[in-house]
Symmetry: D2
Subunit: 332 residues, 4 copies
């Protein structure tokens, strides 16, 4: 299976490149006019059964970053870090001010958070291409101030279970780059890099129809070591715009990375903003995960040499959400 | 394995009954002085491996209710329904006011919600018994205005995977009660009812060490049909205070129900508030799930006659949370 | 000064009546094409000087209802009551867990609230008439997901100071209706009722250019006595659609009531929603206050026989807000 | 009237200095055991009448900074900038998706904000001195997770009206310091500086019983020019700890500044945090305003040579708040 040919990127020609890639990789109508699931349609019962069969030790790995005020958000576009506050505490209980009978005390809490503040799935209503959403619907018919009326995250409620495959591009390429197991900021991961990584990792890293691909760049590891700096919105390694065809032809169900924005930053065109999103989400119907923590899982995969696993990553069911928090679990 | 004997409930003697049950079923120190996982310690790799082996068809079921403004909360104790608002919409994108280049448009959103507004796990810091939290810690040392500093939900990040068992007490007992597959409000589910249900459902419904038990009362089904009415905090079937010993002796990892509050409402003592919580959470270290939606899974279990399944139910990682939203997935 | 003639209301002819009233009372262009202040332009330095001259005793009255979880909101259209939570408390300080030096302790807090949850001013961007906002601007050019870009409440930051006049229509008409000092739900206050009230109250109740008129119906007093019931959005006395001309010809700066929605509920047309808003806000540019508490001030006015006063009612400066909380102060 | 003598500050002796000042300037019991208003008791009807008499031109000045995502907060101690989101917009109205009859459209909004995110009054429950709150109450009896149960901001609902006096210390001292009309960071404003400013400004700047004193340092003007930098919590000019006696002996009702924290930053003791707060709020019962914008008012005072005015500064009535947003209005 090979990706349609794409000419080398011309930094000044974002519009033409986007138009061409959108036309080449568009999945509109592939699963009917009413479809709301996009590439999640690639996952079927057989795939999930295969995924369950990958559990050999019963070891589990959470791929979630924390949701708290110490996260990477900086208020840009009103995205703050989560603010978690208490309605009742153990301190109140200890001082006997809660008014409950028979010695019971309680703590309770609330949270305010942008839905993409930390580990999340982008929903299909998150991005539009020239006014159109997934499957060719008009953006204004899909996401109003009431939320995503068509492809809200609740449509995926029981769908995020499949075979997961970790591609530790950071480790495979970082060695050659002299950057340890991390890619430098601005490094664009091309189809060749993805294939090289698969080859280096071996057969358990093969990627095919219905898989959920996790790409580790090492960006989070560096943020852990050096501070967030520009983690949210700033420079980072990430998928190249030229990977669109690879993502399309592999027929994967979803992709997630350990970065803020999935694709390389700065973007590969002048005056651009997340052009690969514009192909992947509204045109392919591809689900994209961001701000995942892949480090512990990567260590385990390096140790046991197996790069695939059962993955359950069901997002919180906020009705109409265009993105949603998730605590993804890998089981090996 | 049998539960320690408990005398019949005296409605006027809540304090004595709680003191006695707390002493009988307390697990403090069982997993060391530093333990923060309570009954989740019952789940080990072998258990998770067994759970994965229950996947036979690759069928998935989300056990989550919706998170939106149409939910059951009524503002009591400042618990509102989730409020989901948009930072950007498809309507804005359609009218070209977003200021992005090359035709990309976006939608983005935020949520404000009590962490126990909809489908959730209670954390171990949610309830105290006479000023003490799980493992005998002082409540004030565990949950301050900064959140749960010791047993915050993040300690469980990769732990909520196990064999799940659905006990459809509503269906098994409802028939005899003439209430269809739903229990009437105020119906207290005793150990005998649990055992009867297991017996009626057969061998796949056996409950043992490390299992996550899901008890369906039918309360949510009625709320769907008739409106929320008192779903949040009002009358409901639920576990009897007398089930504490059963919960303890079975060595289950967690329990969840399709009700607001897990235990029967009104409670079984005069002037009481959630006395079974007071035994289960701070004394046993038992994780309790509430507001789950078990109806679709129940229909499938009735159809195929198998009541156990792989369950992944990892809550959102709000640091320091005493309760946390989850989208639980059953895989059969 | 008399209002243009309006035919008696035909309940089935909302569209025609609205079109006619909008045309008759439209102030577009009156203060220039760039105007963002509408009827607040009627207040000038002389008016404010006159207002200050009304202070004779130094007595102050807050006209604000509370902002808390016990308010009238019921979640309709995602309007909850304010949720106020603590970031730090005196209980934490007492138990010494705050980590501050030299014995200082602190409490701090946050709020989540719809901007029209309690006592508020509607901004000029709150309502549109057939796609047009105040001064004839296109609605989509004024209020996007980023907020009101043109007439946000911040444009009024220093403007809400004027002579206030209280019209206690509830007391003046309630007597004749046998309803004490409260109007019955559904009672539509017409220009005749307003004039009757002014006449009954005497010269200090005269209403003219630049005044801020406060109309007391007694609806809040009843809610205090009997519970909120339908206070938010339900039946209530309020201004009649036929009062539009009176509001226009008097050249008042603003009007506020002790009700949820300013105009009579149910509205006076079949299948209607707040038709007087549609005339007052986008066409007249009139500022409307809702959920005010006029009871204590009314008692004082009855006692001293003076119905006008200095009024300072500057809303909180949430940039781009289409409504904003205010604690209005009357000084006599 | 002269302030009790205070020895020069010893940077290493915070505890002793605080203990001594607290004892010297404590107003506990001065207005009875039940008092919740502290220094607001200094304002009486006569004072308010005097204030109204200061209105000579009818000119108004808002002293509020903006409440939006571009403010000074940086997430420290979970204080974010306000997040304002829309429930409905003009864009939705323009595209006809709102479902309202007869051509009416609407916009509506919500806000999430720390109550001290922008221009605000500290309530008397905001600060404790060695476990005690205003009037000697135990901190735990005053502010629990339910909010301030005793001195919540609602107790001041109609009290913030008085004579205001602007002391432009930045302009008066900045000239001599070669820093224009701004004080350098870390500049501690002593009683001598306050008196010098009053003397320089003349008779209208006299400060006495019941006045609300506004101290302009120029810190906000610099933030406007150079960016927020450390405006929130960082270095700034502000009141010296040694001004406690001056604040006490003048019997002012309240004080507000154009800085984040009212007192000089860094504080004047080693290992200290806001020691003047510890004297002013729980001991004196003094209301403190922060994040005010005094620049436009200062320009007017320089122009007309009058430094006093009518001030109405009634905070939003969030029940139980320990701080509350306000849009203060000066009228001259």
């Amino acid at each position: 299976m090979s990706a349609p040919h794409l000419a080398p990127l011309d930094r000044t020609a974002a519009v033409a490149a986007i138009e061409s890639a959108a036309a080449a990789y568009r999945n509109w109508g592939r699963w009917g006019d009413d479809d709301v699931l996009g590439t999640l349609n690639f996952v079927d019962d057989a795939k999930r059964l295969q995924a369950a069969g990958l559990v050999r030790r019963g070891a589990t790995f959470s791929l979630s970053q924390a949701f708290d005020s110490h996260g990477p958000q900086n208020g840009w576009r009103r995205r703050t870090n989560p603010v978690h506050t208490m309605l009742d505490t153990g301190v109140d209980a200890a001082l006997g001010s809660q008014g409950f009978p028979h010695g019971i005390g309680g703590a309770d809490d609330v949270v305010f958070m942008p839905l993409q503040a930390s580990t999340q799935w982008d929903g299909l209503g998150h991005i539009f291409d020239r006014g159109l959403a997934w499957n060719g619907r008009r953006a204004q018919d899909v996401v109003t101030s009431e939320g995503d009326l068509v492809t809200g995250i609740e449509t995926t409620r029981d769908r995020f279970v499949s075979r997961g495959v970790l591609l530790d591009v950071g480790a495979v390429l970082g060695a050659g780059l002299g950057t340890g197991d991390e890619l430098p900021d601005g490094f664009a991961i091309t189809p060749e890099h993805l294939d090289l990584t698969i080859e280096a990792q071996g057969a358990t890293a093969d990627v095919g129809r219905g898989d959920i691909v996790l790409v580790r760049t090492g960006r989070l590891a560096r943020a852990r070591r050096e501070g967030w700096n520009g983690y949210a919105g700033g420079p980072s390694a990430g998928l190249s715009f030229t990977s669109a065809g690879w993502l399309h032809s592999r027929e994967i169900a979803a992709i997630a990375t350990d970065t803020w924005g999935f694709e390389v930053r700065p973007n590969e065109f002048d005056d651009a903003f997340q052009p690969l999103h514009q192909i992947a989400i509204p045109n392919m119907g591809l689900f994209v995960g961001e701000l995942w923590d892949l480090d512990e899982l990567a260590r385990d995969c390096h140790a046991d040499g197996r790069w695939d696993f059962f993955l359950a990553a069901a997002p919180i069911q906020v009705t109409g959400a265009v993105g949603a928090p998730v605590n993804p679990l890998a089981v090996k």
